[in-house]
C-alpha cells in the first residue's frame, strides 16, 4: 500500500471514552420479561382494535347460538299468516316475513345451525387435514406421493360444485351432520397441503436435527418440535375456513339442498326472502346481515391472527 500523507479531516481520531462506553461483549438484558411466541402474539393482538371487535362479535355470536332463548321468547316456527309481512311492532323489532314468522326470532335462532356447521366442519377438516399433512410431510416417500395425488384429485373438483352435486344426491338425508360430512370430505385437502408444506419447512431446521442427534424418537420429534412450530398457518387457515364453511352451508341451504326446511337457517330464510325481495327487502336484509357479520368476524380474526403470528413481523 502506498504511504500517503494524512489529508485534512483524516487525522487519527478517537472518541472520548465517556462518550461511547464500551459494554460487556454480548451481555444479557436481565430486566425484560420473558416472551414466548404465544405471549408475543398476544402482545401484538392486544393492540389491534380489529382483534377486539372480532372477539366481541364472535363471543356474542357463540352465545346467541348456544342460548337463543336468552335473546327472544318468540318461537321462530310459530308463524301466523295473519301476520304476513307486518312491519316492526313491540316485541317484534324486525317485523314479520311473508309466512308471518317473527324475523328477529328467526335471525336469532338461525345462528345455531350456522355456527354448528362452521365449528364442526372446521374440527373435522383440521383433524383429517393436519394428520394426513403431517404424516405426508414428515414421513415422505410413497405416502407423500400417494397423498399428493389424492389431494390433486380433490382439488380438481371445485369445492362448492362438489358439495352441490353430492348434497343433491343426498337430498333425503339432508341435515347438519350431512352438511358437515360433505363439506369436511371436500375441505380437508387444502389444510393437508398447508400442514404438509409447513411440516416440510420445519423438518429441516437445525433444532429438529439437534433433537434427532439427542436420540429423541421420530414420533416425539414430530409431536414436540415440528407440530407446535407448524401450528401457526393451520390456526390462521382454520379461522378463515370457519367463515367460508358457514358461507358454503348458507349457499347450499339457499339452493334448497343444504339444511331441511324444518331447521331455521339464514341460508334458507334468504332463499325464501329473495322471492319477495321487491315487496319486502327487510326480510332479506336481517338474515343476510347476520350471516355476513358472522363470517366477517371470523375472517377478521383470521386476518389479525395471521399478522400476529407472522414470523416476518416478529423479527422486529
Amino acid at each position: 500500500m502506498p504511504e500517503t500523507p494524512t489529508r485534512p479531516d483524516q487525522q487519527h481520531f478517537f472518541a472520548q471514552l465517556d462518550e461511547t462506553p464500551v459494554g460487556v461483549v454480548d451481555s444479557v438484558d436481565e430486566s425484560a420479561a420473558p416472551a414466548s411466541v404465544w405471549k408475543d402474539a398476544w402482545h401484538q393482538l392486544r393492540r389491534r382494535p380489529m382483534f377486539w371487535i372480532a372477539s366481541v362479535l364472535i363471543a356474542l355470536i357463540v352465545i346467541v347460538a348456544v342460548f337463543p332463548q336468552w335473546f327472544t321468547s318468540v318461537d321462530p316456527r310459530a308463524c301466523d299468516l295473519a301476520n304476513s309481512s307486518l312491519p316492526p311492532s313491540a316485541g317484534h323489532p324486525f317485523g314479520f316475513n311473508f309466512q308471518g314468522c317473527d324475523i328477529y326470532a328467526r335471525t336469532i335462532y338461525g345462528a345455531r345451525p350456522s355456527v354448528t356447521v362452521g365449528v364442526l366442519t372446521t374440527l373435522v377438516v383440521v383433524l383429517i387435514g393436519a394428520l394426513v399433512g403431517a404424516i405426508a410431510g414428515f414421513y415422505g416417500k410413497w405416502f407423500d406421493s400417494l397423498l399428493s395425488r389424492v389431494t390433486d384429485i380433490f382439488f380438481a373438483i371445485p369445492f362448492v360444485l362438489a358439495a352441490i352435486v353430492i348434497m343433491s344426491v343426498l337430498y333425503d338425508q339432508r341435515g347438519i351432520l350431512t352438511v358437515v360430512i360433505v363439506l369436511g370430505v371436500f375441505g380437508w385437502p387444502q389444510i393437508a397441503r398447508i400442514t404438509r408444506g409447513s411440516v416440510l419447512s420445519v423438518k429441516n431446521s437445525d433444532f429438529v436435527t439437534a433433537a434427532k442427534a439427542l436420540g429423541a424418537s421420530r414420533a416425539s420429534t414430530l409431536m414436540r418440535h415440528i407440530m407446535p412450530n407448524s401450528a401457526a398457518p393451520i390456526i390462521v387457515y382454520a379461522t378463515v375456513a370457519l367463515g367460508t364453511f358457514i358461507v358454503a352451508e348458507a349457499t347450499l341451504s339457499f339452493l334448497g339442498i343444504g339444511l331441511p326446511q324444518s331447521v331455521v337457517s339464514w341460508g334458507g330464510d334468504i332463499s325464501d326472502a329473495q322471492r319477495r325481495l321487491r315487496a319486502n327487502p327487510v326480510e332479506l336484509f336481517y338474515p343476510a346481515a347476520a350471516l355476513a357479520l358472522t363470517v366477517l368476524s371470523f375472517i377478521m380474526m383470521g386476518d389479525v391472527v395471521r399478522d400476529a403470528l407472522d414470523p416476518k413481523a416478529r423479527k422486529r
Binding site: D152, I157, P158, T251, L255, P281, A292
Partner: protein, 308 residues
C-alpha cells in the same frame, strides 16, 4: 421447458381419472336409485327410466359403468338430458355464454383487483390501504347470492341502470352486472394478494439495487415491483377461471342466464343426475385445463421455473 410442460400434462391424467371417478361414484354409488330419484316428487315415466338405465349401463358392475361412461366422454357422447336432448347439444348452447361471463368476471377482478391492490400496497398503512382492506373483507364475508340479489334489486330494479335479468338477451351490457357479482369475491382476494405481494417486493433487495442504479421511482415500480408481484396474482387469476365457471351456478341462477351454471342449477333442482354428472365432468375438465394454463403461465412469468 418442454419437459416441464410434458410432465405437467402427464400428471393431469391420473387427476382427471380420479376426479371423474369421484364424481361418478358420488352420483351413482350413493344410497338410493339415481334414476328413480331423478324425477323427484313427480316421478318419471317407466319408458324414460328404462332408456336412461340402458344409457348409463346401470345393470353392469360399477367400474364397467364408469369405463363405458369415460369412453362416451372421449367420443364426445355425454348422454341425454331429462327431456331426451343430447347433453352435448345443450353444452354447445350454454358454454359460450358462461365462458363470456367468466372472462368478463376475470377481467373485472384482474383490472380492479390489481389496480387497487397496487395502490394499497404502495401506501401500506395509509387510509386508502386500510379502507381497501376492510372493504375487501366485507366483500369476502357477504355471500355471493346476497351481493347478487342486492345489486339486482338496487341497480337493476330500483335505479334501472342495468337490466336485472339476462334471459335470452346475452350481451356485454346484460352480462356486466352478473360478471361483477361473479368476480366480486375473487376481486377481493386479488386485491389482497396484490397488496401483500407489492408491499413485500417493495422492500426486496433487488428493488433497492434498482433504485441505487439511478432508475426513476415509477420505472422501479413498474419494471421491478409490479412485474414480480404479478407472478402469484396471475397464477391465482388463471386458476380462478375454472372456479368462476363452476361458481357461475349461483350467479346464473339469480340473473336467469342460460349458461352452464343455470342449466346445472335447474338440473340439480330437478334432480337430473346424468345431466349433473356430465356438466360437472366438463367443468372439472375446464378446471384442470385452467390449472395447466396456470403452470404454463407460471413458467412464462418466472424464469426460474422455465429452466427447472
Amino acid at each position: 421447458m418442454a419437459w416441464y410442460v410434458g410432465r405437467r400434462f402427464l400428471q393431469l391424467i391420473p387427476v382427471f381419472l380420479g376426479a371423474t371417478l369421484l364424481i361418478y361414484a358420488m352420483v351413482f354409488l350413493l344410497p338410493g336409485d339415481p334414476i328413480l330419484a331423478l324425477g323427484g316428487d313427480r316421478g318419471i315415466s317407466d319408458a324414460l327410466a328404462e332408456r336412461l338405465r340402458e344409457r348409463y349401463n346401470l345393470d353392469e358392475p360399477f367400474l364397467v359403468q364408469y369405463l363405458l361412461y369415460l369412453k362416451g366422454i372421449f367420443s364426445l357422447d355425454f348422454g341425454i338430458t331429462f327431456s331426451g336432448e343430447e347433453v352435448i347439444d345443450v353444452m354447445k348452447r350454454v358454454f359460450p355464454v358462461t365462458f363470456q361471463l367468466a372472462v368478463m368476471a376475470l377481467l373485472f377482478e384482474g383490472i380492479f383487483g390489481i389496480g387497487f391492490g397496487l395502490i394499497a400496497g404502495l401506501r401500506k398503512g395509509k387510509l386508502f390501504d386500510s379502507t381497501a382492506l376492510v372493504l375487501s373483507l366485507i366483500v369476502i364475508a357477504v355471500p355471493t347470492f346476497v351481493i347478487g340479489f342486492v345489486l339486482q334489486f338496487v341497480v337493476g330494479v330500483k335505479l334501472g341502470w342495468l337490466p336485472p335479468t339476462v334471459g335470452s338477451n346475452v350481451n356485454f351490457k346484460t352480462l356486466l352486472m352478473p360478471a361483477i357479482v361473479l368476480g366480486a369475491v375473487s376481486f377481493a382476494y386479488v386485491l389482497r394478494l396484490t397488496r401483500t405481494s407489492v408491499a413485500e417486493n417493495l422492500s426486496a433487495d433487488y428493488v433497492r439495487t434498482a433504485t441505487a442504479k439511478g432508475v426513476s421511482r415509477s420505472r422501479v415500480i413498474n419494471v421491478h415491483v409490479l412485474r414480480n408481484s404479478l407472478i402469484p396474482v396471475v397464477t391465482f387469476l388463471g386458476a380462478d377461471l375454472g372456479s368462476l365457471m363452476a361458481g357461475a351456478i349461483i350467479t346464473e341462477g339469480i340473473f336467469n342466464i342460460n349458461g352452464v351454471g343455470g342449466t346445472l342449477y335447474r338440473a340439480i333442482i330437478q334432480g337430473q343426475a346424468p345431466t349433473v354428472v356430465s356438466l360437472t365432468t366438463v367443468l372439472v375438465i375446464v378446471y384442470i385445463l385452467s390449472n395447466l394454463l396456470v403452470d404454463l403461465l407460471y413458467a412464462v412469468l418466472d424464469p426460474r421455473i422455465r429452466y427447472a
